[in-house]
Amino acid sequence: MLLEPGFLIVQTLNGLQLSMLLFLLSIGLSVVFGMMNFINLAHGTLYMVGAYLALSTVRWFDSFWVALALAPLGVALIGALFYAVLLRHMQRQSPMRQVLVTFGLIFVGFDAVRMVWGVLPHTIPVPETLAGRVYVLGEVYPAYRLFIIAIGLAVLAALYAGLERTRLGAVVRAGVDDRTMVAALGIDVERAFFLVFCLGCWLAGLAGVVSAPVFSIFPGMDMSILILTLIVVVVGGPGSLKGAVIGSLVIGMVDTYGQVVAPEFARVTIYALMAAVLLVRPHGLFPVRRTH
């Protein structure tokens, strides 16, 4: 069964789709961590809030596309607010304080979502234009899942171009390599960091919105995805776009195939993989070379 071409095609597409979701989630976390050594454990919470905002938007406007446009912006706004009120002061503090504050935000976010949207799981319909099924190399596959893959690839292309071609991208790349040097050159690293942080929140919200029609929306959906995202970040190597891409692909594929090839070990495959990678490459697959 495992070598049947049909099975392989569908499974590879499933793996690709998970990889792209993980990419949307991990890239923001990874760059923020690489630039400022800042661990935002509440990143999964932003993903969850994105899904819930999509739920409300769909209820009001009856359109997935409006939700796709608005909900990630809402998440970015929430992220910006938290940055201004709380996280800005945390940057230069010990990582353990960041852990505690963002852990606190996880708790607060979990209950806030329960208060507003209740505890029962929700779902939003797949947009009508993508509700059908398509044939990929002769295999039936839900069109919406291909859309998720496409979104991931589009974001990847945009980020690549942005990092290579724009001034902000240059500051970010330099900031990851050597922050003090960039600051010494009179560049406002703080502002660049703020923008990157908001972009990361927007992407987490985007991931929440696009996954909402496939996965159910419930309080606590943030936790398992958070762990997986963190794994992607360290496996790929924090701070690099390449690391986030490769990390997402490796984790997405291994997780998807591992579940059916070796179901007995489904629960540990990813952890074992991460441990193995770190033992061979203690700073992840594509560590950013630091100059200080």
């Binding site: 499933n14 799981p121 398992s224 998807t256 179901p263």
Partner: protein, 394 residues
């Protein structure tokens, strides 16, 4: 030093003031409600708590001159917290009887303590077979179901309907395996063949896609599953999205399309077969009256979770009436529960004195379109399903 010690004692006393609550008036009958109000099963806990309140409103909060008082405790859906809370209920609040428990993990954690304390516990959901099987206790009564009770008769029935090749799928934990094993035994016993099985890890499965691909590759007549809550919604949706709906019959334990969320599942759920101890569409006067009252109060259908809690209230109140409101003799109270018999929303209800598990009808239903919504239509009834002792000697 003395001054400091007094200060420290005062400080400690202050810190713990809430914890060391005073005992209440002796005259009331105290019912400890042990449900998750937070955590993964928080929604089910609140559903059952609402139905318990409605039950006591309907059946009265006074027996033999004593008022019935509810003391709520939150298990947080976690075994350790559940155990701490049941100790609090029994030791501090001195409850006469404990009702509740959604998760079998919590039930397993409190089982020994409750058994040792000789406090009657009425389980309103947790379905682990062992609780009324090899680990049964004279003090633990279950009004909901056992995992195999729901699925046992479904195997032969499906085989009789012409399904010959089944693929099984459930989360990899005790309940998942017990449900699948019960179905498998009946199905293969009646000549069916198991084409394959898949047990995704509980709590870490984000996507059913990989498993659906595996099930499809096995080419079965029917895929029989146990999923509930968020995963059930997700599974049904992906089942339809992958086009499995048009190719293979989907069946399973009826929580796949629970009344709590079947309307959200909508068209994706249509055609699915389920086996469960309660569906809102049961056509009896008892059920219609109950649903009408519940709808009026909560604006939605009562679910199997609510009914289990509601029937539990009837069991308690009837048993208390039989003892004249006396709760000192706990053995007599449990004995009185064995003698309670009534027809509730889900049909005839009584407790099996052999195992302390409920004897009840199990219904087979198909999800069909109902006006502009969907709902379960009952196709078959297995009357008065009773568990074998399974190693229980009471």
């Amino acid at each position: 030093m003395t001054g400091k010690r007094t200060m420290a004692a005062a400080l400690a006393a202050g810190l713990l003031a809430g914890t060391a609550g005073a005992a209440n008036a002796q005259s009331s009958i105290k019912v400890g409600v042990l449900l998750p109000f937070s955590g993964v099963f928080g929604g089910l806990g609140k559903d059952q708590a609402a139905a318990l309140e409605m039950g006591f409103d309907d059946l009265g909060r006074e027996v033999g001159g004593r008022t019935i008082e509810l003391v709520k405790a939150d298990t947080e859906s976690k075994p350790a917290a559940g155990l701490a809370q049941v100790k609090k209920l029994i030791l501090r609040d001195k409850v006469d009887v404990v009702v509740g428990i959604i998760s079998s993990a919590v039930a397993g954690a409190v089982r020994d303590y409750v058994h040792g304390s000789k406090t009657p516990l009425i389980i309103t959901n947790a379905g682990n077979d062992a609780l009324t099987g090899e680990k049964c206790s004279p003090w633990i009564v279950r009004t909901s179901f056992s995992n195999s009770q729901i699925n046992r008769d479904m195997g032969p029935w499906m085989a009789g309907e012409g399904y010959k090749k089944a693929f099984l799928m459930a989360f990899d934990y005790a309940a998942g395996h017990q449900m699948m094993d019960a179905f498998k035994a009946g199905f293969t016993g009646a000549g069916g063949v198991i084409a394959g099985e898949a047990y995704p890890p509980l709590g870490e499965t984000k996507d059913f896609g990989p498993y659906l691909a595996k099930a499809k590759a096995a080419d079965p007549d029917v895929v029989y599953v146990f999923f509930a809550g968020g995963p059930a919604i997700k599974f049904t949706k992906e089942w339809a999205a992958f086009g499995m709906k048009d190719e293979v019959q989907l069946a399973g334990a009826g929580w796949l399309n629970s009344a709590l969320y079947v309307k959200k599942q909508g068209a994706d759920a249509v055609g699915t077969l389920g086996a469960l101890n309660y569906y809102p569409s049961i056509d009896t006067p008892e059920n219609q009256a109950f649903q009408a009252k519940f709808r009026e109060k909560h604006g939605r259908d009562a679910s199997e979770f609510g009914v289990a809690a509601y029937d539990t209230v009837r069991l308690i109140v009837d048993a208390l009436k039989a003892t004249g409101g006396k709760t000192d003799d706990k053995a007599a109270l449990v004995k009185a529960m064995h003698d309670v018999q009534f027809t509730g929303p889900r049909g005839p209800f009584r407790i099996d004195p052999q195992t302390n598990n409920v004897i009840q009808n199990i219904y087979v239903a198909r999800i069909e379109e109902m006006g502009d919504s969907v709902g379960a239509v009952i196709k078959h009834t297995f009357p008065n399903v009773q568990d074998p002792p399974n190693g229980c000697t009471l």
